[in-house]
């Protein structure tokens, strides 16, 4: 991974030095060894700080919207899930393709610091190196090698697109897919098996944890509205406080429906939630239903394929199965 990181840095430096792009969107080190933060690079010199490691989980696509509409040519590094998000933003007219240079990065899966912490591998670590599926935790008392898959994000373990679905150039060899697509619906199936009351209690308990920090919305590549309905004083639903439990339920359910059919299942909502609400399950349930009703459709795979929830065809499935005209028969 370090070799690829060097190539990534080199490519960014060249793009900025030659004027190929005005800005590069990538990652750099944050406060701690596991802390990687999205960063904008405007000059070739700055790119020494640019990095590519097992903690580059943040999706950069959404950061492009502002720069692109100000007329800048931008370069951006995209993993598989980031590329899906990029396509979705393209379909939503939030980015124009011609102003963006896409550097594709096949992704081996990102490491979840929380999992390292839970496994008590956390203390004393100062850096983490990676070779394939082996993580080398480098600390005060030497190096410790562990198997990476045990510490990857859950979303990375069921990743169906480790390789970008769109790019101008690919900076590394493609990565294999770890599991069949059906695996990502395992938890959805469990939820579906619950009774209506159990489901309600489950979600009520989850949403009760919500502090309305809006992190899920702000990170979401499908939540790219100019002004969110929840921020609009005129809408009648804006800025509701977490005064009673139904407010959070409304917020999350409306959000799930607002991104329905456009959610690329990047899992960022759940990752950034400080309360640990498994928000992605709501979206996955909708994805599963869309696939069941309208056939194979994956948001973000191809921006030119019309989204089933935004289009109407005479031969569309009728979701009111069992209902005939004049009432249920």
């Amino acid at each position: 991974m370090e070799k690829i990181a060097a190539a990534v840095r080199e490519r960014a430096k060249r793009a900025l030095a030659t004027g190929e792009v005005d800005r590069v969107f990538a990652w750099k080190r944050g406060e701690f060894w596991y802390d990687v933060t999205p960063a904008v690079f405007e000059t070739a010199d700055e790119t020494d700080e640019l990095l590519w490691d097992s903690f580059c989980v943040a999706n950069l696509s959404k950061y492009l919207t502002g720069a692109v509409r100000q007329g800048f040519k931008v370069g951006v590094f995209v993993k598989g899930c980031d590329a899906l998000a990029f396509n979705q933003l393209l379909q939503d007219n939030r980015i124009s393709r011609e102003n963006v240079r896409l550097f594709g990065l096949p992704c081996p899966g990102m490491v979840d610091p929380e999992k390292l912490k839970k496994a008590k591998r956390y203390r004393g670590v100062r850096a983490v190196a990676r070779a394939g599926d082996v993580l080398a935790l480098q600390g005060k008392h030497g190096e410790q090698q562990v198997e990476a898959p045990a510490y990857l994000y859950d979303k990375c373990l069921v990743c169906r697109h480790p390789n970008p679905v769109v790019y101008d150039e690919l900076l590394a060899e493609p990565q294999p897919v770890r599991t069949p697509d059906s695996d990502r619906f395992a938890l959805v199936n469990e939820l579906e098996a619950m009774s209506a009351e159990e489901k309600f209690l489950f979600w009520q308990e989850q949403f009760d944890k919500c502090i309305r920090c809006n992190a899920c919305r702000n990170i979401c590549p499908a939540c790219s509205c100019e002004k969110c309905i929840f921020d609009n004083g005129e809408s009648g639903v804006a800025a509701k406080a977490n005064a009673d439990s139904c407010e959070e339920q409304f917020f999350h359910l409306i959000r799930a429906y607002h991104v329905a059919g456009r959610c690329v299942d990047c899992g960022e909502c759940s990752r950034v939630c400080p309360a640990g609400i498994p928000l992605h399950l709501l979206n996955r349930k909708i994805i599963k239903d869309i696939q069941a009703i309208y056939g194979d459709y994956e948001a973000g795979l191809d921006p030119n394929v019309p989204a089933p929830l935004a289009t109407y065809r005479l031969d569309d499935a009728d979701p009111f199965d069992g209902h005939q005209k004049g009432g249920k028969k």
Binding site: R69, C225, S235
Partner: protein, 661 residues
Amino acid sequence: MQRIGVFVCWCGSNIAGTVDVAQVAQSAAAMPGVVYAKDYQYMCSEVGQNMIKQAIAEHGLTRVVVASCSPRMHESTFRKTAAAAGLNPYLVEVANIREHCAWIHKDKAEGTKKAIALTRAAVAKATLNAPLVAGESGVEKRALVIGGGIAGLQTALDIADAGYAVDIVEKSPSIGGKMAQIDKTFPTLDCSACILTPKMVDAATHENITLYTYSEVESVSGFVGNFEVAIRQKARSVDAKKCSGCGLCAEKCPSRKAKSEFDEGLRTRGAIYIPFPQAIPNVPVIDRDECTYFKTGKCGLCSKICPASAVSFEQADEVITQRYGAIVVATGFDMIELDKFGEYQYGQHPDVITSLEFERLTNAAGPTGGKFVRPSDHKKPKKVVFVQCVGSRDTSGRGKPYCSKICCMYTAKHAMLIRDKYPDVEASVFYIDVRTPGKNFDEFQRRAVEEYGVQYIKGMVGKIFPEQDKLMVHGVDALSGETVVIDADLVVLASATKAKDDAEALGRMLSISTDTHDFFTEAHPKLRPVESHTAGIFLAGACQGPKDIPETVSQAGAAAAKAIGLLSKKKLVTNPCVTTVNEALCSGCLACEKICPYGAIAAKTIELTNNGVKETRVVAAVNEALCQGCGGCTVACRAGAIDLKGFTNRQIMAEVDAICF
């Protein structure tokens, strides 16, 4: 603060029977902004309207709420009333306390409570109403008639005679429809072909009529006065311009397996065929599913022998796009399948036939040349039994619950024709009721009984058993209570009529509604019988419900008159309730564009300065001339950036809040 007047209508006893209208008016008087409230027996009458006008003047009303029937019924009436009193017509709001309340409830206390809630919602909405001004749109002086049967032909001829261009789209290879298959017509017994085929010729030769046969409507967009329709003209595989209609190809085609649709499967036809000798256009068509050339690449005989070299295997479907001011739907009907009626042996025994097959059997141009013989052995039958209501008035779920309306008359006709030509043949009719209202209809049926000696047996047939060369018909005479067994040679089943299988799909394409049996719904059963709920789309013939020829023709004339009335207008007043985009909120995702059925929304690139920084981005833009105010876009917009005038999000929320009061 608005000065709102509330006018509560009794609608005679329609509303007042279930709603305490005085109490509604009393409660309304206390609602926010209401300065005047009054109830009256008939608010839509001249007296009622004057009451509104007077109140507007005397109390300086700025908003008017009428609690009455559906806005579909009288919204325009009350808007005119307000306009006459100098108030912008869009400041009138209707609370539907009839269809939504009085008609569907029995408990007066509950009904009154609901009527008050509905009125409160209308008052809340009216408070936020804004004055709107209607615009104008043009009218394309061309009509589309879907269906080339008698309904479509009559409509097209009437519109064309008024001087407007008409296109007829007919799905099958020839115009003529069901009427072309019929031998004689009741109640006068004149020959169907003699009265229909001249109309077919008239339509084909009329300078204002264009025929698209073997064609289907593929898509419809636009709105009243300005529809845009794509018509798929299926490949005939014969060049109509070259073909002389000599029929040599159809005669020589070696494939003879396909059943003739026109002759109800009683004889076969070639893979290349002309449906019937009087077909218009008289151009054959290749049934590609049956043609040996299309199946195996061999044969091609028709192409070799055609003296005009008109056969073209390469011909492809053609899509024609045309604009229309009005559309008339005249797609007709079908007969139900009888596979669920095993007791009648239809499909099991060749001598059990349907009435439509009987028409072909007695037709001079039919498969037997009009010679009355039974299908099994081509012998002349001695006893014929007719069974009515096969699948009509059927509540068992096997057939249709409605009366097919035409069977009593055509069965009497069939029986009479047999007895007239062959007095030695016995004819019996099993019936539930004889329903023959209509001019000279009952006289006709009585003639069958009294002059022609047709035996009518009130009762249903339980079972039919073949026994040697006879069909034993077991029925019950409901009047005597005795079992009746007739050793028939031929049994004719009056199977129920049904809507076309694709009626619902066509309805969805046209945005017109269908009823529980897929017949198209008229805008009002009494007052607007030939209009659909969608402006500019009219209905003619049996696609709207079972109908005989006289009724179909009069409805066709009525639909034509409506279409002519529309086409003759120079301008149409448009609905000012259109959507507007708040560009500051719009993200340009264009979900609205995709959902808009009228193509009224398009992308627009705007340049703006955001905190001193120049930006370019995409937003949605509404073409107000195309927008029909359906409001689909406002629901699709996640950010609430698009809003419908007259039905703004704030107004709807105010209504909801008022109901949840």
